[in-house]
Symmetry: C2
Subunit: 371 residues, 2 copies
């Protein structure tokens, strides 16, 4: 991949929760060949989805992903549209064969998924309903329904900063995971899952394409009312080129997969994710409650670190955000549902960038702490 430096470097650090930062090398590669893809004379923005070039783009992206995520042969890799919200409907439409499904609601995104599924069948809430999402109740307390068509969970909740550090045991019921915000940031055993999906705009690529990894035995069971565009089987049978797919996004996604492969693969990204998040949590822990993260320590997210300052001191938080912005550190404002600050540390955010944030946090703490 091109690593040329004749293009002006960005001077900001994007800690946005999504769309998030993309690898600089990928952006430069895209820019370089934007007018003419791979000597075709045609821009990737104009390239036919029926061309041999695009077929190769799709297949290479699939091969690279299969390699870096160790995806077994009995899984199809699909590129779909509609983001996570589209797949929230697609899951029940393709999988709710018994009329009921289990949902683990651990934050806003799994809550939205459960509410969408109610349109298509009975939704069993496995966990007690809670208003503040700060923990994941122990599996011994879960009320799983053995008759459920599937068990659904969100592996990382971006708004509340809650991440599963284990794969739920479902006793043979097909397991579905929304990994929109942490896929390709940790190793895991794909064979434990029936379906894994992820909107691209955090660790995979630009917004506008959704990755779906589906075990073959799940196919062929869609409801009759399933829109073709959300039908996993149609997409699998046509290798994601049934209708015109988002050609550009799939192209960029393929470049990001390659970038990950060339930069330590998923295992390397995981090591970095641990190191990066630890740097921020360390500052929080050392700050004697000047900074506080409401999430229980065992489920704190490596991807999204939400924290408050003082006793939810909004004035001081705004001060923190202004100072960060002056230093080129952008998109640190917490989601409006929880307030405060949120640092998102996706794969493309470097450890040096995280160190800058940690240093700023220390400086800010030493300046404003009144204890």
């Amino acid at each position: 991949m091109s690593n040329q430096s004749n293009i002006s470097k960005k001077k900001v650090i994007n800690f946005g929760a999504g769309p998030g930062k993309l690898p600089e090398q990928v952006l430069q590669h895209v820019q370089k060949e934007l007018l003419a893809y791979n000597n075709t004379g045609i821009s990737i923005l104009e390239l036919s989805h029926r061309s041999i070039e695009f077929k190769n783009i799709v297949e290479e992206a699939q091969i690279t992903l299969r390699e870096i995520l160790h995806i077994p042969d009995n899984y199809k890799i699909l590129f779909m549209q509609g983001g996570g919200t589209g797949i929230f409907a697609a899951i029940p439409l393709n999988m709710m064969t018994t009329g009921t499904a289990d949902y683990l609601v651990t934050g806003t995104w799994s809550d939205k998924a459960a509410k969408e599924a109610v349109k298509y069948g009975k939704v069993n809430l496995v966990l007690p309903q809670i208003t503040k999402y700060t923990e994941i109740p122990d599996p011994s307390t879960w009320k799983l329904d053995p008759n459920a068509s599937y068990v659904y969970y969100c592996a990382n909740e971006t708004i509340h900063g809650i991440e599963f550090n284990y794969i739920p045991e479902t006793n043979g019921v097909p397991l579905v995971a929304d990994m929109s915000s942490n896929i390709l940031t940790r190793s895991f055993d794909v064979s434990k899952f029936a379906v894994i999906f992820a909107g691209a705009q955090k660790n995979i690529g630009p917004a506008g394409v959704t990755l779906v990894i589906v075990r073959e035995d799940i196919l062929g069971q869609a409801m009759k009312i399933c829109p073709t565009i959300l039908d996993f089987t149609v997409m699998a049978n046509n290798n994601s080129i049934y209708n015109t797919p988002p050609v550009f996004q799939i192209y960029v996604v393929g470049l990001v997969f390659k970038w990950i492969k060339e930069n330590g693969s998923v295992e390397g990204m995981e090591k970095l994710a641990i190191a990066k998040s630890q740097k921020i949590y360390d500052v929080i822990n050392k700050s004697k409650n000047f900074y506080s993260c409401p999430v229980k320590s065992d489920v704190r997210s490596r991807m999204n670190v939400p924290f408050r300052i003082g006793k939810n001191d909004e004035k001081l938080e705004n001060e923190f955000l202004s100072g960060a912005s002056e230093r080129g550190m952008l998109q640190l404002k917490g989601h409006r549902l929880v307030g405060g600050i949120r640092a998102s540390l996706y794969n493309a955010v470097t450890i040096e960038e995280v160190e800058k944030l940690a240093e700023y946090m220390m400086w800010f703490y030493q300046k404003y702490d009144k204890n």
Copy 2:
């Protein structure tokens, strides 16, 4: 918009049916600011969909489109995902209030739309079913159902090269048009329609976003089983930023709208579309059946000109395609359903480029015609 010439010019002409050619100036503009959008220091591929910058991108695109297409105030402009295929489901899901709908099937795309609608209600085929699409039966022969929730048609069929040169009269029943392949290429009275939609990848922008123009009284009637991602009302209430939209495509689409405005607007595009298509049909007409277009002259498309050579002489057609390719004229192969040649003449294809094709056709005719 930037018109710099320090970037190597493409040497090919893209006559593809979609994704199709985009204006060179738009591509150069996108390339120039790909690493940093509008002095944010953040790439458009990373820009938050909740940022003020993106809100402005959406609103400017809507304002420009409303101006160039003369869209009345009681219509919402939506940017959705899933292409035309997604909207084929969205139309009945949002509009089939009486349980039945009228479909005018004049080619592959309206046929697909009708088949998708069958999932959600009764589909009344207004025209007699025909296997070869070469004409539009006279309105006096249509069997419209006064109880239909809506009347659906495809304004331009890309595969068969059939284009309506009038707006169907529905006697008050809401009218829905798929204008994927001819929107922004002709003036028309938007107020005659309940819904107009168009996949971007022909005259609007890159694949991955679908334009929907919906009259406000249509909103609020979606079926309970309508996936959120296909719900016009949810999208209208959130100005197309309910979930993460395809930020990049909406940005490019806005640039294309601006390019159209600065280059004669829709009225100018229409004059060019007439002139460009006439050049190709003229060669066909003058060729004494060496070239033949099966479509009746009154409904021949200005956008997609399908034709055969000799008596469907595939060997000669391949010869034609090879020669065209050697001259840099690409993507002229007809759709596999109809064979032969197809020249797509979308807005970004210049009259000079069409002239080159016409000249090549004349040369080829003079060389190979045996009459």
